[in-house]
Symmetry: D2
Subunit: 142 residues, 4 copies
């Protein structure tokens, strides 16, 4: 099964790096988060704020995240990030990001997110709900 | 007239500094923004999200900001930030932040913000509205 | 005199926006800073970390910054940012950023930066030094 | 064996939250990183930039990180973060952060970091080196 994959070219910015001259690691998660959103947007065929209305849900917050740092990246580095779903369940899904520099893997990140809606009992709370079949289908058929 | 003043002691963090070892300047604005919110919270006697409900408004977005950088600060530096209103108009106000290191001014920032509510014609839009007299009074009488 | 201008298309990201749904204003400065670096890199013909070595300097820290917010931008907005120098002096320069949405100016920012080298008396300190003629020439002749 | 533990009280800031009103998850890592640095500083008895000189090393970059999100936190929330080492090896160590709200665990994070020095063969590269016995001792004896 060929998964829908988003590939982005990103230049590491000065402001993303710390006094050691390498990326301050929380910045990678900002880059990865944008990738997950782009992936879901591409599967849904519209931007996230339109998706929230069209599919009546409240987002896909993180439940569990893991990242491995294999080699540092520095400001000015041009990196490539590949993002794809690796598993989709009833109301949650896994994402895998691979950030490479000069063709070698530098950072990889594994996310588990849950698809949520507003809780009918308390609209300020969120509650998991089934992922739309249409989005699941497009995520899994590239 | 003695203005209500918030004074905070903040340690500059590693992740706020860039490869030159000094604070990446947008990080100062994160520090200053927290100061403005604390000032309004102290004037209003509750946290911002409670204020929004109690005074039926949508926030106090920035209209104009200016900052001067007199000396760099580095990670590990313990700085002091003083925040006070300098002028209050019908539906907008000016804030002055002074960030000092070892008793000397390092950065100062001048903000002009507008007090806004949701536009009755279009709830997704915001529109200026008068500042609550109670908050104005407390901001100006320390 | 036609100034060298950098034009970028940027999508406002979810993580750059606050609970009011609009860009948290310090994030604009991250976007603008990247523009100033790109401009100097294009003038110098190489990336910043190569420039620092080639022209023996330590960076171009901010001295004074001002920004005006004319209309809010939200996540998913596709904005255009134009960056150019507006004045160049012996060892300092002014930059103007214009961020537009749907062809209308949303935010503009005016920077004054100083060109610095390491202080020969104390390598941990920085000191202004003349801007390289080659870079000045390319910034001012588009 | 009682591990040295750092406990901090932190208020979640407006600018750390996203349009859903909850903390944008990369911001947690900024909070956690500051905790790890404080822990090492307390073990070493000085600030990080002094430690780097005193113990002749280049930092303790992340190798592997994992976080679990059990309940969301919102701006204005007052949270408590406890940080301690859980395992210390020859040149790497594990850190555990527990972020609680109203006495209940909201986020926990597990870090593996490596203690590095500058590579003698290439000073621009980093290389693992043994952790100082003095710091190990203080981390493990509270």
């Amino acid at each position: 099964m060929a998964m829908l994959t988003i590939t982005r070219n990103v230049r590491i910015e000065w402001g993303q790096c710390d006094p050691a001259g390498i990326v301050f690691y929380p910045r990678y998660f900002e880059i990865f988060d944008a990738g997950t959103i782009l992936l879901i947007e591409q599967a849904g065929g519209m931007k996230k704020f339109q998706l929230l209305k069209a599919f009546d849900f409240a987002g896909f917050p993180m439940v569990d995240i893991r990242a491995r740092y294999l080699r540092p990246t520095r400001y000015g580095d041009d990196v490539v990030i590949e993002t794809a779903a690796t598993e989709i369940r009833h109301s949650s899904f896994d994402i895998h990001h691979r950030l490479s520099k000069d063709g070698e893997l530098a950072v990889e990140c594994f996310e588990t997110r849950v698809w949520v809606g507003h809780d009918p009992k308390d609209p300020e709370q969120i509650k998991s709900k089934p992922m739309p079949a249409e989005i699941v289908q497009r995520l899994t058929q590239a």
